[in-house]
Symmetry: C2
Amino acid sequence: MKLILNDCLSFADKLEFENVLKKAEQSNLLLKSKTGAGSDYLGWLELPLKISAEEIKYIKKIAKQIQNQSDVLVVIGIGGSYLGARAAIEALTDNINKKGTEIIYVGNNISGRYVESILEYLKNKNYSLNVISKSGTTTEPAIAFRIFKEALFKKYKQEAKERIYITTDKEKGSLRAIARKEGYTSFEIPSDVGGRYSVLTACGLLPIAVAGIDIDQMLEGAKYAYANSEEIAIQYAAARNLMYNKNKTIEIMVNYDPSLHFFTEWWKQLYGESEGKDNKGIFPAGVDNTTDLHSMGQYIQEGIRNIFETVIYIKNDMSTICIPDTKDDSDGLDYIKNKSLKYVNEMAMQGTKLAHVKGNVPVISIEIDKMDAFNYGQLVYFFEKACGISGYVLGVNPFNQPGVEAYKKSMFRLLGKPGY
Amino acid sequence: MKLILNDCLSFADKLEFENVLKKAEQSNLLLKSKTGAGSDYLGWLELPLKISAEEIKYIKKIAKQIQNQSDVLVVIGIGGSYLGARAAIEALTDNINKKGTEIIYVGNNISGRYVESILEYLKNKNYSLNVISKSGTTTEPAIAFRIFKEALFKKYKQEAKERIYITTDKEKGSLRAIARKEGYTSFEIPSDVGGRYSVLTACGLLPIAVAGIDIDQMLEGAKYAYANSEEIAIQYAAARNLMYNKNKTIEIMVNYDPSLHFFTEWWKQLYGESEGKDNKGIFPAGVDNTTDLHSMGQYIQEGIRNIFETVIYIKNDMSTICIPDTKDDSDGLDYIKNKSLKYVNEMAMQGTKLAHVKGNVPVISIEIDKMDAFNYGQLVYFFEKACGISGYVLGVNPFNQPGVEAYKKSMFRLLGKPGY
């Protein structure tokens, strides 16, 4: 994993960067000493080292059980109890040709139309439920659990109990109480790990393992990043705060492979929820290229100059397909005949970076060799670490989310929930 | 269709709005008189009236032929030759339980991994190709056409010719020449309709018809909007420029149903590409709620106050599912037992609007009765019209996209394309 800053730092004086870098280094110490704001929620910091061999073994055992039991695992969760798993699964499996146990996601919206479609889809499938909610009381997954539990019991009668898997806080919340009472198989989310930092707990790891991904390798990657990516995490945090200080208040996460779309969604939650408070913070946005070069591309090239980009590029996407030699150049493509798509895509990425820098869009680049569980684990830990540091540089508590309560309170009042 | 502005106008003086409104009215006259910037590209303005009965009949005839011929229609296109069709198909069909001919999309990226997955997916399917490119020379679809044509001929030998459908300019470009030479069935994109305004031409209408959607009704809806939504188009254009003048430079398009995700992508292209130039323009972003209330929600509630929202709400999503009465309130949901998801979702929408307005996020609301082809056609024409007006209020040419060329030139140079 490589962080390349020159196309970003060229937009600032050396001294400016050095000053923010100093602040980022101090912020890293604050994070590691667990003395900063929100330090009750730093369980993710040493998570890759601390997760026990027993827990990993148990997750893998249950994952195998679910694979044998079901064609589909229905993951019920929202926010951090949804995006972490989905981002990893989309990045690391072939989501078009679904092999093995398919993972589908509900409880992340309240659309009746969506729920009815999924219920119909499940009619002729064998399925299990994994209900994920740290608090155990979030409305969207609770509604979905009522509905899908009813369908499950209708289909499997008493056997349904063996198809329900709960992931929630060790002690707190109604979901833990329900799991105990009904004797459902369950997993624990450490109380000091917030939702958006939970992908390397059972929250993310169970569905990821069911999807056939090597979670040992993913944790190895995170462990590797723990040991080796501190410096680049500090640099990324510093660079983006440098941009913010220069009124570049929108950061666009850019990928060149559609399988990374949900990685960007995971990143948007991580950074938006950690930093968007106290009337400040970088606005996180995303584009999937080259698709969006024909959509958001115009704005990025020539709109308001308050944008910078972070490009994630997979050096080798493991594809081998080339542009056929058709012995007929009527489409004018012969100048790239026999070239691999991998190569053409990389040139599109390089060309776009050049064009954007010329258009006054600073570019931060992150290169990874290939997309596998190990590298994915690295990326996850790197972005988590950099996010904590970055929030402290900005001067906010990166580990709370007071604003998320506002819509809930307002909705509960309209729904007549007792106490609101 | 209803436009509700009070939660937006409450953030400004009456006089301020009246001034922008005047400008929007003048911009509308400029648009209709076809005397403003980019007036060579106003073919979309009277398109719903002008499209001939014959052309519609032909599109429907060929759509039926494709349905009979194939399980899958592979749509090859990018930007406006991709998003218009996809947005409509996702909004108006059940994309989870694919019935009838499935539509899949290629040529909108250069990922080798993606292309290889699709080729594998097609191995055991009967399929046809619809190649859509106005210029006929765009790199991404041209590459995909080479690859998928080769696979098609390998599978169907000479019969493959009957499975290729071309949508391109009447005269210009290599794709028209290829269609003529090979005798492929083809459709014309009017030369005065730009890509992002092309959904109601054969560009969008052929795949939409193949997906089983009533294109007559969609065009009726557009015609209805042509006759009836001029005033609200002017008001929406005025309101968003009012917000822009008050430094609300990010507009977030909000939906409460995941089937509208690609409608937002279509809208982002339409507005971003029309307005993001000359170092100005509103930055278009999107959220799918309630999903993203647990992601971008924190930022929207409490981040930098340079955001306003436009919420599209479907009053009746045609679902009937309710929250089951489980005779057990251990999940604490009994206060909404027997309530429909439709109702709960609407309360989430209302509650969120209240919370955001309180958090200093102005909210524009658009309500439609239900999501059907007629209403979709209305929405499309309304947003197209408002976009043209809005661009003129902003003082840009809303019908060009000079910035899109920048990355292409830069990429062609790296790829060694002759002439670059």
